[in-house]
């Protein structure tokens, strides 16, 4: 039984081409034999010459259209498609001149069909610039032979017109002898020409329009560009020029030429890595998914290679790579198509943590300059150092103003804690002088866990990685809120050296005992950890419902969390009573500034949403939110805004405390969680207190908005972890598109875009 490559001899498929050839040659021969002699005598010898030339042209083009390779793609090698075959999405989008074009996976040929390519079922081949399969020439019309087919149609039309006209001339001159042989034959020839006149002229006209528009028959018939823009057009003149004058495209199915043997023998030269400058660059200008898929294995291999180096620095390198990759590339989201094959383009619009998988595939777009060995060890400490910053009671505003740049990185899954880490990751080049060496030993024991990271980064674990960081912090609240945040840093850093915060929950729990051990040695001020926790909770949580995780916390943790909440509430109350609001808010704003990341898209609506009813706060928030949504340079701006809002809120709500309180209550009830009216320290227990305190609603409102912003921004405030917990568990105020309670505002930030292929993407603005 012949396989698909060996075609069975089917006589039926040769009938049309035989008929066409017979009719063409036969009719023209009869014309030349019976009609042309008289025409030569009666009109001019140029007539048969002209007809002869035209007929020759018709034949040449007919032969070229019939026998020329239309541009058949050879089957892809096994190596090329081994990653694509089973896990590949059916379609892949590519942007051509700004227009999204869909490429379909060809199961027969094992590659994604290039644009304008189509698989011919008759020929069982993918053909470049596939026009149609023409039965009259028994061949596909594609890139290489479309010109000849078009010229064949043109010349055939001209030939038919000529034959018909001259035949008519002959018949008109021989009307009285219609029964004569010559006349009869001429009449027959005229009939044939007349019979095929309409179809051939119609087809010629159709293709003339196609050439002018720059479309193929396949595109016209399937309506690909109906009502849309054709990205392949070069303008009418350009299209005609392209069809008629472009150079003949090469054949792809040539026999493999004898390649000169290239001697490849180790040892191989390696690029100079003395300064450990490793740049990872990915540009997003083409087939994203294919690159990822085909390279997934290679990336793992590459990582394996790195592991042969001393354990500590490579992990740090990877950590940095991952961090930087994740943080800085929103563009890379498209590369994460492997984990979400059906909507590769969607990743572009997801919060930065969506770029997580890219790290795995080394497809991050940014250039990541990795610190040298000295720095990598510092990098390892970064997670640890997080608490250093956290332990600092004074939250420098400048530090947070720097955070915006780092915020983008913060939002990456590798964000371990508050800004300090983010800023550290960026400051790798700047040299780390952070003295937290004490923490490094704690990290080193986990060096051996470098290998497991691969399982972490397997393509389909993205969904499991949500909120691992925040959970880490939640898991260890016993030490302090700062400790919890620090624990996250610890977990992320030591357990894998660089693993992303998006580890599965199980891993968080696994690491919990480690972290608890480590936490004891750390001292953190209450201010810092919450920020970290708050920060991380939003974006990792995007995909997992927080209540689930919240329930997973151990009882001891819950107890300690509760204790801390109470402590903080008490402190807050004291602060509220004894100090100015401005001061508090200043602190809060500082905290907020520090904690805001870039993945607050979804959460952010909550912020403005909450304070909408609160008067002065919403406008400030809206403005600040817009700023925050940006690069984060507005962090500095936020501070005065927040302060102002805080101070004004302190004043304004007093007059409308009732309404605010109502709103607060309603929002609290709707969110099933009430941010503490006391400002940054929200606790459910505070709710009953709010009516009693005229000022508390205003605070609570403001805090509510802040908290919602906090959700996303890892604000390192005190009670941040609690807030985060609350948010996760109750308000569902996650930055991502979760949270039914926040759905109204969230919807406003999620756009649905329909791609070319009919796929609908959700883009969170």
């Amino acid at each position: 039984m012949p396989n698909s490559a060996g075609k069975r001899f089917k006589p039926t498929k040769y009938i049309p081409v035989s008929t066409a050839a017979t009719l063409l040659v036969g009719s023209t021969t009869l014309f030349f034999v019976f009609t042309c002699p008289w025409l030569t005598k009666a009109i001019s010898p140029a007539v048969p010459v002209y007809n002869g030339l035209v007929f020759l042209f018709v034949l040449a083009n007919f032969s070229m259209a019939t026998f020329m390779d239309p541009g058949v793609y050879p089957r892809a090698d096994e190596d090329e498609d081994k990653d694509d075959d089973f896990r590949a999405p059916l379609y892949k989008n590519v942007e051509i001149k700004g227009i999204q074009v869909r490429m379909k996976w060809c199961a027969t040929c094992h590659f994604y069909r290039p644009p304008r390519c189509s698989h011919c079922s008759v020929c069982d081949n993918c053909v470049e610039d596939f026009d149609h399969h023409c039965p009259w020439v028994n061949n596909c019309i594609g890139r290489r032979n479309y010109r000849y087919f078009f010229l064949f149609l043109l010349s055939l039309s001209i030939h038919m017109v000529g034959v018909f006209s001259f035949g008519l001339l002959f018949v008109l001159h021989h009307r009285e002898r219609l029964a004569a042989l010559h006349t009869t034959v001429t009449l027959v020839v005229m009939c044939i020409a007349g019979l095929f006149f309409i179809p051939v002229m119609g087809l010629t006209g159709f293709h003339m329009v196609l050439v002018g528009r720059g479309r193929t028959t396949n595109e016209q018939v399937t309506g690909k560009f109906r009502g849309g823009v054709n990205p392949f057009t070069r303008g009418c003149c350009g299209n005609v020029e392209y069809v008629l004058c472009s150079p003949l495209a090469p054949r792809y199915t040539l026999d493999p030429r004898k390649k000169a043997h290239v001697k490849i023998q180790p040892p191989f030269i390696r690029p100079d890595l003395s300064d450990r400058q490793i740049t990872i660059k990915v540009s997003d200008n083409g087939i994203h998914n294919t690159i990822i898929r085909s390279k997934s294995k290679s990336s793992l291999d590459g990582l394996d290679e790195k592991e042969t180096q001393p354990p500590l620095p490579p992990k740090a390198d990877r950590y940095n790579q991952l961090k930087n990759q994740l943080t800085s590339s929103e563009v890379e989201s498209s590369l994460s198509g492997k984990t979400h094959p059906s909507t590769p383009a969607m990743y572009k619009y997801r919060p930065s943590f969506g770029t997580m998988p890219k790290v795995h595939y080394h497809t991050a777009g940014e250039k990541i300059v990795m610190a040298d060995d000295l720095k990598t060890s510092a990098i390892m400490e970064e997670g640890v150092r997080g608490h250093d910053y956290r332990s600092e009671p004074n939250l420098d505003m400048p530090e947070y103003t720097n955070a915006p740049l780092h915020r983008t990185f913060q939002s990456s899954p590798l964000q371990l804690d508050s800004d300090p880490i983010g800023s550290r990751s960026l400051s790798l080049k700047q040299g780390h002088c952070r003295p937290e060496k004490s923490q490094l030993p704690a990290l080193q024991p986990q060096a051996h866990t470098s290998t497991p990271y691969k399982s972490v980064f397997s393509p389909n674990t993205l969904s499991n990685r949500n909120g691992s960081l925040s959970y880490d912090s939640l898991l260890n609240p016993s030490v302090s809120p700062a400790a919890a945040a620090e624990c996250m840093a610890h977990r992320a850093a030591p357990s894998r050296g660089f693993h992303s915060p998006y580890l599965p929950t199980k891993m968080c729990h696994i690491r919990e005992p480690e972290m608890q051990r480590q936490q004891v040695t750390l001292t953190y001020s209450p201010v810092l950890p919450p920020r970290g926790m708050g920060r991380q909770s939003p974006h990792p949580r995007d995909r997992d419902p927080s209540p689930v995780r919240y329930d997973n916390l151990s009882q001891t943790i819950m107890a300690s969390i509760q204790e801390r909440k109470e402590i903080e509430e008490r402190e807050k109350r004291q602060m509220l009573r004894g100090r100015s609001q401005t001061h508090i808010y200043a602190q809060d704003s500082g905290v907020f500034d520090g904690g805001y990341g870039l993945t607050h898209n979804a959460c952010y609506p909550e912020g403005p949403r909450c304070p909408v009813s609160r008067g002065p706060t919403p406008p400030a928030y809206g403005g600040s939110r817009d700023n925050l949504m940006g690069v984060g340079l507005s962090y500095g701006q936020r501070t005065p805004v927040l302060r102002h809002a805080g101070s004004t809120l302190g004043r304004a709500p007093r007059t409308s405390s009732t309404s605010l309180h109502t709103d607060h209550s309603s929002s609290n009830s709707s969110h099933s969680r009430a941010p503490c009216p006391d400002g940054p320290y929200f606790s459910p227990s505070h709710q009953p207190r709010s009516p009693a305190m005229p000022r508390s609603p205003s605070y609570s409102h403001q805090k509510l908005s802040y908290i919602s912003a906090l959700e996303r921004t890892d604000s390192p405030r005190l009670g941040g972890p609690r807030e985060a917990m609350k948010v996760n568990g109750q308000m569902d105020c996650h930055p991502s598109a979760q949270g039914a309670t926040l759905s109204p505002s969230r919807h406003s930030n999620v756009k649905k875009v329909t791609g070319v292929g009919g796929t609908t993407y959700e883009i969170s603005v």
């Binding site: 042209f57 034949l59 070229m64 793609y73 050879p74 892809a76 090698d77 190596d79 090329e80 942007e95 051509i96 001149k97 590659f111 290039p114 644009p115 610039d129 000849y148 990205p231 392949f232 008629l244 004058c245 472009s246 150079p247 003949l248 495209a249 090469p250 792809y252 040539l254 493999p256 390649k259 290239v262 490849i264 180790p266 040892p267 191989f268 030269i269 390696r270 690029p271 490793i278 740049t279 990872i280 660059k281 990915v282 540009s283 200008n285 083409g286 087939i287 294919t290 690159i291 085909s294 390279k295 294995k297 290679s298 990336s299 291999d301 590459g302 790195k306 042969t308 595939y361 080394h362």
Partner: protein, 143 residues
């Protein structure tokens, strides 16, 4: 001795560690252009600049091959006039540039890529869809 030498060669033939595929860049249409981004798998094997230079040169060569210039016009007219019999004796402009590309790739392989344990495959063998870069195992891990 010659036999020994060839046996040594066979023994030392490195195994293929991985293959990297550089896809086409369709942002400017269906012109043959390849993506110049540097694959991460090669970062430990070759300089980024060098690799990108190679790909850029290839892109330029393909642009030259597909150019709608005077030469392609003359070729077309000549072909029409001779009923395309000219294709039997003469090679087209595109084919000439393809030969140039093949020579360039061979030269790059000999000078730059083979010493680094890499091998570029002429994209024409893959239908101008991908540039295949074969990464060979580096047995000498200690450097």
């Amino acid at each position: 001795m010659a036999e020994t030498h060839s046996l040594q060669d066979l023994r030392q033939q490195p195994a293929v560690a991985a293959k990297v595929f550089l896809q086409r860049d369709y942002t400017h249409g269906t012109m043959c252009q390849f993506q110049t981004k540097f694959p991460s798998e090669l970062e430990t094997r070759i300089d980024k600049q060098q690799f990108e230079e190679t790909v850029r040169t290839l892109n330029n060569l393909y642009t030259e091959a597909e150019k709608l210039g005077s030469q392609s016009l003359i070729e077309g007219c000549l072909a029409c006039l001779t009923a395309y019999t000219v294709f039997l004796c003469m090679e087209t402009h595109y084919e000439k540039v393809l030969k140039k590309i093949a020579k360039f790739i061979q030269e790059q392989n000999d000078k730059i890529y083979a010493p680094r344990g890499l091998l570029l495959t002429d994209p024409i063998e893959r239908g101008l869809r991908v540039i295949e870069v074969t990464i060979f195992e580096d047995r000498s891990l200690t450097r």
